[in-house]
């Protein structure tokens, strides 16, 4: 498909959001000062598991400035449990621990006070009488029947146990000449935005409305709050004009909002809770997947991969949440970019006495890509084949799209071989190999890593009905409204918060393109949930596709109306007219201008075509493309669009020090038509940085006593500007046939392949010593120790 040229789309254009941020004028939730606002501090459990016998809050309540102390007993009697995506009714969760704590850091009760400092003072006066209980931290251990169940009412720690067989796995294994098994573990990390989660709630008794301002990125947030608090949906008003200080998936904050909403309603005063960093790390319920993979590959001498068996065991932490679904989304790209004839997949999710898991960038795809790419490296090593050649041999070819994979998803488009060739050229692969070899002769450990990965995009929720038959959701829409005011200016409304994705820029660019007007003159607003059309927030790399799609469709409807008005006015059939730059041109040279249309639509009803409503406004509620069916026989079309990325990395380190340095990083990226180049590049760089952290530094690590060892930024180490190297992005564009401009998603790019590539490079560096690092993060100490052990 030839690349189309656009006037605004794909062109360099400043992000309209940036101006306020560089001036320090973002509107973050912590910036809100409501008159009479109270502050909350939660009491964190010291125990990883305990039965709460008694909570004595007398001394705390007696302190000046303390207004209330909320316990789990109180709130569980007043509200409904938080929504649980699985069919596990006895795994119940409330914002505060009820009768039992299930992880160290879990909120036992919450002090409400005139200031945060007073609330923290009061926490020290609360006496909790609790009896420690046995606990379990490791996922394999949690599976054992001898392990203490985190939820005794549920009976075991098993949340999800689904076996899928797609295609003739047994036959393929029987026919294939070789098979090879290995295990790898993806460590527990998260996106850890620099803004913690925060929420302000205010109950207006006269209007019977609960106002919520939150730094949230969560589908159906107001619905969930309403259900938990027993309020009508139209009694909860979530304000979408709050700037969210980074999220990348995790800012879900449902327990926070229900707790603070409950308190605000109870006390009739505005209440604010902004997590401090310790609370965020240990009890923000925002850890990412912690996943062990056992993989067996079946393949031939020439490198052809026939089949794959994968068992994925995920440690969900103490409650279910949406975490288990992160095992479901990767089903939509379970073979990666490769032709693999059949797959069996055993997805297991267990509870443990760790902090609760939440959605993280890629929703489980990055760990799965890491397992698939490790498999490719292992097979290549086994066959003594070049890792690139093995990949190129198995990649889906450009002429095979649309390509149906065994698990039921059809990949929309791609040209993987070309992207890889472009990267090898740009990075001068043979020179890179020479550099690696030279470094080795100089006494350094040096390795090259490659990763070819997919970013499923256009997020919907097909994994919900796939993993939970009781769930019949296929709808996963996004909406946009467009209005032209009486002076001819365009206002667009979008119905979600933004956390750095540049949605205002996205929508104004798309509207400008379709309406052929200057995007900088378009105002984009984000009203509250009561003034909004339905949407599902920026999850699953979906907004370029879904919000961009809805905006384009709304603009097309508006254009139709403008042309219809012109046709009536100029006396031509609409199909004889040409819409151009906002004006409508007739074959006889006459013109009906944008302002003529505005004048008629706003002021001259008598001159409008018969039956046409006044005004120039439109809206669109767009269903996710390809999202038209529920799963059948364990198969479903997951996401509509598949972006491709290819990473090529050179890593070097001193064998004694073991500190991996990235000497060269090139990524080839094909996300179809790019709406805003700087925004897409920025997200890709950021995703790679996050991937560097996941590979080398970042882990929520627990000690043997069930205590989180990495609660602060002194121990949870995120890459700084020193650790992220210059990165070259090689762009390619294979438009998607499913979207208005051929765009695909890019919000998770970089992160989905960086850990596979960097760990692959480290493993390449130590391959001669027969060392395989099988767990992320790979700490420098582990590298040095492993080399030392081999050389001893």
């Amino acid at each position: 498909m030839a690349e189309k040229t656009y006037k605004f789309i794909s062109q360099p254009r400043r992000a309209v959001e940036d101006r306020r941020f560089v001036a320090g004028r973002g509107k973050f939730v912590a910036d809100l000062d409501r008159p009479g606002m109270l502050h909350v501090a939660p009491l964190a459990s010291h125990y990883p598991a305990a039965i709460i016998n008694k909570i004595d809050v007398t001394a705390a309540l007696a302190m000046p400035g303390v207004v209330d102390v909320i316990t789990g007993a109180e709130i569980s009697a007043a509200i409904q449990p938080l929504i649980n995506g699985l069919d596990t009714p006895n795994v119940r969760r409330f914002p505060l621990a009820v009768g039992r704590v299930r992880y160290a850091g879990e909120w036992v009760c919450a002090v409400v006070a005139e200031s945060r400092a007073i609330a923290e003072d009061a926490l020290e006066k609360i006496i909790v009488d609790a009896a420690a209980q046995p606990f379990v931290l490791d996922a394999e251990e949690a599976l054992l029947s001898t392990s203490p169940p985190v939820h005794p009412e549920h009976g075991s720690n098993l949340l999800l146990d689904k076996k899928f067989v797609w295609g003739a796995v047994d036959d393929d294994f029987a026919l294939a000449k070789h098979n090879l098994s290995f295990s790898v573990t993806w460590g527990r990390n998260s996106t850890v935005p620099i803004e913690t989660f925060g929420v302000v709630a205010e109950w207006n008794g006269w209007d019977q409305i609960l106002d919520i301002w939150a730094s949230v990125q969560m589908p159906k947030y107001s619905d969930q709050i309403s259900r938990c608090l027993g309020l009508a949906g139209n009694a909860v008003r979530v304000h979408y004009d709050i700037d969210v200080g980074g999220s990348y998936g995790v800012k879900r904050g449902i327990k926070h909002a229900t707790l603070i909403g409950y308190i605000a309603r109870k006390l009739g005063r505005p209440v604010r809770f902004i997590e401090d960093r310790l609370e965020n790390m240990r009890a923000g319920d925002a850890h990412g997947p912690e996943r062990k993979f056992d993989v067996t590959m079946a393949f031939e001498d020439d490198g052809t991969i026939r089949s794959m068996k994968m068992r994925a065991l995920d440690n969900a932490g103490a409650y279910a949440g949406r975490a288990p679904f992160q095992l479901g989304k990767p089903i939509g790209a379970i073979v990666g970019p490769y032709q693999i004839n059949s797959v069996s997949y055993h997805a297991l999710s267990v509870t443990s006495n760790k902090t609760v898991q939440e959605a993280v960038r890629g929703f489980g795809q990055a760990p799965t890509n890491y397992a698939i790419e490790t498999a490719m490296d292992r097979v290549a090593n086994f066959l003594k084949m070049d890792r690139l050649v093995l990949r190129q041999h198995n990649l889906i070819r450009a002429d095979q799209f649309p390509y149906l994979i065994p698990s039921g998803s059809t990949y929309d488009s791609g040209d993987y071989h070309t992207v890889i060739d472009k990267v090898l050229n740009a990075a001068d692969y043979s020179a890179l190999v020479a550099t690696r070899d030279r470094l080795r002769t100089e006494g350094m450990m040096a390795g090259i890593g490659v990763a070819a990965c997919l970013e499923p995009s256009g997020g919907n929720s097909s994994f919900e009905p796939l993993l939970n038959e009781a769930n019949k959701t296929s709808t996963w829409m996004e909406s946009c409204q467009v209005n032209v005011d009486a002076l001819g200016n365009v206002i667009a409304r979008i119905h979600t918060t933004s956390s750095g994705q540049g949605h205002d820029t996205l929508v104004s660019t798309v509207l400008g393109e379709v309406l052929q007007i200057d995007p900088d003159k378009i105002r984009v607003t984000r009203p509250n949930s009561l003034e909004s059309l339905p949407g599902n927030s920026p999850v699953g790399s979906r907004m370029a596709i879904m919000l961009g799609g809805a905006a384009a469709r709304a603009a097309e409807k508006l254009k139709l109306k403008i042309v219809a008005i012109a046709a009536h006015c100029l006396g031509f059939d609409a199909d004889k007219l040409v819409y151009s730059g906002g004006d409508v041109l007739a074959p006889d040279g006459s013109k009906h201008s944008w302002l003529d249309a505005v004048e008629l639509a706003h002021r001259q009803f008598h001159n409008l075509p018969e039956g046409m409503d006044p005004g120039l406004a439109s809206f669109d509620i767009m269903q996710v493309p390809t999202g038209d069916a529920l799963p059948v026989d364990g198969k479903v079309q997951m996401y509509p669009c598949y972006s491709f990325e290819f990473h090529l990395v050179l890593v070097a380190f001193d064998p004694v020090i073991g500190r991996p340095e990235i000497r060269s990083y090139t990524i080839g990226h094909d996300c179809g038509t790019v709406i805003n180049p700087a925004i897409v590049s920025g997200m890709t760089y950021g995703g790679i940085a996050h991937g560097i952290g996941a590979t080398l530094f970042e882990e929520f690590a627990y000690d043997a006593n069930g205590q989180l060892m990495t609660q602060s930024f002194l121990d949870y180490l995120m890459p700084s500007s020193h650790e992220v190297p210059p990165i070259e992005i090689v762009k390619h564009c294979t438009p998607s046939p499913h979207t208005v401009f051929g765009q695909k998603g890019s919000g998770e790019s970089g992160y989905l392949g960086a850990p596979a590539a960097i760990s692959g490079a480290i493993n390449d560096a130590v391959a001669a010593l027969d060392i395989h690092f099988e767990k992320l993060p790979i700490r420098m100490s582990a590298i040095s120790d492993a080399i030392s052990n081999k050389l001893a």
């Binding site: 001036a23 973050f28 912590a30 400092a117 960093r277 925004i679 950021g686 602060s712």
Partner: protein, 175 residues
């Protein structure tokens, strides 16, 4: 409670505060300046960066009482008179040009770190820039476009200075 008066962006702010109040909380809750952000409150992330004595420093690692009688600059004191006109300073504008940000939360700290750097090192190397922002954690950008932005700002500031020289072509033409 202690009396403190601190000159912030040239204006004196006076208040009675508890000694335990950090400068960060003073700025946000007492002075009402919300551009300085809390990220970690233990001195690692740099979101709360302010300028003090020409240096970028962390306001969460200072008590307001320590700063009594002294002067600091926050993001609100940077750039042109944007309160009325939306006019940005050269560094801020370069951040927009290079899209050296996404969510905007670490951005004020980054801009101030860049201000401190470029005031002392007008022609920095990329390494200088990476050093100067290494105490400011950004989770969105991978720093690449932030480094681009600061290098661009240095170039533009340099060009501006060149233009003030008498032999610069632009001033020659005016004669």
């Amino acid at each position: 409670m202690n009396d403190v008066s601190i000159k912030i962006n040239g204006e004196l702010v006076t208040a009675m505060v508890e000694p335990r109040l950090t400068m960060l909380d003073f700025l946000r809750d007492v002075a009402g300046l919300k551009g300085t952000h809390a990220g970690c409150e233990h001195g690692v992330c740099g979101a709360c960066t302010i300028l003090y004595d020409g240096n970028a420093v962390r306001s969460c690692l200072m008590l307001a009482v320590q700063v009594d009688g002294q002067e600091i600059t926050t993001i609100e004191g940077i750039g042109g008179n944007f309160e009325r006109s939306g006019e940005l300073g050269i560094i801020q504008d370069a951040f927009c040009e290079a899209h050296g940000l996404q969510c905007g939360y670490c951005t004020p700290g980054m801009v101030l770190a860049a201000e401190a750097l470029l005031a002392k090192t007008p022609s920095p190397s990329e390494d200088n820039v990476r050093d100067a922002i290494s105490g400011n954690i950004c989770r969105c950008t991978g720093y690449v476009q932030i480094v681009d932005a600061i290098m661009l700002a240095a170039q533009r500031l340099g060009n501006r200075n060149d233009m003030l020289l008498p032999n610069h072509p632009s001033t020659q033409q005016d004669k």
